[in-house]
Amino acid sequence: MTAPVLKSTDRGLYCEAGDFFIDPWRPVDRALITHGHADHARPGHARYLATETALPVIRHRLGDITAEGIAFGEVRRIGDAEVSFHPAGHVPGSAQIRVAVGGEVWVVSGDYKTAPDRLSEPFEPVRCHAFITECTFGLPVFTWAQEADVAGSINAWWAANAADGRISVIGAYSLGKAQRLLALLNDGIGPILTHGAVEGTNAVMRAQGLPLPDTVPVTPETRSKDHPGALVIAPPSALGSSWMRRFGAVATGIASGWMAFRGVRRRRAADRGFVLSDHADWPGLNNAIAATGAERVFVTHGYTAIFRRWLESEGYDAQVLGTEFEGEDLDARDDDNAPAQTGD
């Protein structure tokens, strides 16, 4: 068998032929970044490479970094490796990274979602010999409803709260989920207010031309009576915090794939849980893997041991790829709620 194109190291996934890392978790010289979420785009690298659409948010979050943009599909040579970025459909600008070395093609999925939303570039399967796939929701109990149906429930919930004279507050991660919600909401129901963390990302995305509806940033002066029937989008960590007091009696909801579980819905103590994920569901993962034509599959981020065994029973050469995280943790490493990500 040919030498591996990528290998797992204590700093992250490394390509020897090109001397670069993909989404490394410790400082390196050259980092290729799939997308801007904090567990993928970390500070401290000497050089960054990411898609042109992902880069503004990455700069917004990491500050002054040396970074270069690349277009989707553009092939670039780094050392003895050829690299290109392909839409992952996870959040705007998110990419799978294809690495080819001497005819051997590997693809790193990053985080991905196969169903389209209204903002992200839709997922594109990429043929390869080896596929490194996330499996956050790699269990047969996860099957997402159509996005339009989820949008319908959220809008109906908002409208009912507005009719009751209550403000709706929905918890959603500030990069990706919040903007996806904005694109789904029927802003005829009432004004949409945003937490500072959400609005920061909104401003960046508006500046790069993504179509987002008008929003009103929440400030210390914001009074709920000035915004009857409003819906507020805030990071989940803000729910139940003192920040919420200004809105009086509110109805609360959380939008996340983990809301598929009744136990999680009840534990979060929000009134409603909407099952809306930026990751692939069980059918999505299986279809995506099949579409790559890969024989070797490395699984990471999620129910890795179980998913690996399943893939093996389906005839793949499947292995678990270690990460710094044990991704099965529903609460601490929920992509929408990871502690490291809630502060921004």
């Binding site: 269990l139 047969p140 109990v141 996860f142 099957t143 598929a260 579980f261 009744r262 136990g263 999680v264 819905r265 009840r266 534990r267 103590a269 009134d271 409603r272 129910y303 179980i306 065994r309 399943w310 029973s313 044990e326 099965e328 943790d329 529903l330 609460d331 601490a332 490493r333």
Partner: protein
Amino acid sequence: MHRFATLFTRLDQTTKTNTKVAALAAYFREAPEDDRLWTIALLSGRRPRRTVTTTLLREWAAERAGIPLWLFEEAYPIVGDLAETIALVLPPPETRIERSLADWIGEIRALAEVDEAERKRAILAAWNGLETTERFVFNKLITGGFRMGVSRKLMTRALAQATGLDEADLAHRLMGDWTPEKVSFSELIHAPDPAADLSRPYPFYLAYQLDVEPDALGAPGDWAAEYKWDGIRGQLIRRGGTWHLWSRGEELMTDRFPELAAALDFLPEGTVIDGEVLAWAEGRPLPFARLQKRIGRKTVPKKLLAEAPAILHAYDLLEWDGRDIRALPFADRRARLEEMLADVPDTAPFLASPLISFENWEALAEARAASRDRAAEGVMLKRRDAPYRDGRRKGDWWKWKVDPLVIDAVMIYAQQGHGRRANLFTDFTFAVWNGNDLVPFTKAYSGLTDAEFREITAWVRRNTLERYGPVRAVRPEHVFEIAFEGIQESPRHKSGIALRFPRMNRWRKDKPLAEANTLDDLKAMLAAYG
């Protein structure tokens, strides 16, 4: 089923009591009578008998979902609920079946009469005609253990709103051993039934723990105090030439405590006593473990009768001379109780639980502090002029338990919880030092906040040393203060001791591993309090 599933969703989607009661009351107004009856039954812990084993349900669900059984079995503990796991793995329904709740329950019960192939056909047909929430509800009806986040008290309140009947009266009607198979909605709610009335208990009055100093309660003279015994709270009914003994959980315990049949000889007709069943010898209670041996049995062998003879410590008199006297002040009820028991010979298994006389709150505090010496858990405070209420209410009764015993222990094993606590590590095993070894001595499941459970869960995942099925051995690092109410010798446990009501009192992040308590410390506690 659609209506019931909608109710379930509405109850599940809110944490607000008033919204829940309103949703339930609306349901009680609109649903067909049989569905109302079954809803009352389900919400008061009554369920249809299980007609299909969970093993078969798992196999059929995996088969229908097109996944291997091992994969289903891996997913189940992660979801934390079997009915939910099945509902989630199945492919979307291909048809739509609309039948009433009572109708579905009838179908499930009828499965007892048919062979396995027919059961499978019926279950698969149901799964294929119900959407996800309805499927979940259907699976819950088959597997039992239905919890909808509505207490019996809230259900009764909603029913009172819907029917316009008195809440306390309804609560009384819903007590006892009725089943929806044998009674109709109107018989249960409206019609008098002399036979059922004969055994029907009153709703128990439950006390909250006193969380302030007792001087906040006012003058000591307004209050009566008695010991809080560590037995089984029970209600003894003596009516119409029969006797019945009910537990607080409304379980009929008559056959388990045959010595209390002496009620027929010594207690007058038309008597209901609220008291505590205790294993008793030589004038003091035996450890709860002795009584516990009798709980799990339907009938009691002679040997146990001799080893752990039971008596009823009477706290209160609810019915006297066939009359409901719960509205009378406690002082009056108590006087009648004492008068009645004065005529009972000392050899009969009925004692009035003694009142504690106290001049001031300091004196009561002393009695409380010494209650462990009497094998009591603390004291109960009852306002002398208060009626006997129903359910858990603040104000007239307070339990003032002794401070728990505590020991600092090291967490060594962890296991995930179920239901609301699925996906969280909530079930832990703790150890104390014996030289350089850690000896496990207790499990504990409660006492931490959700945030703490999340924190320890993340830690467990990163610090697992070994896995034994669902149990993980974790790196000994964290010290917890374990609180408990009693300590007893136990040959069944490796450490030789067993604790009563152990729970995690505090996460001792300040405490180094080496400073956790030792087995010798535990043995000293056993010697002092066992």
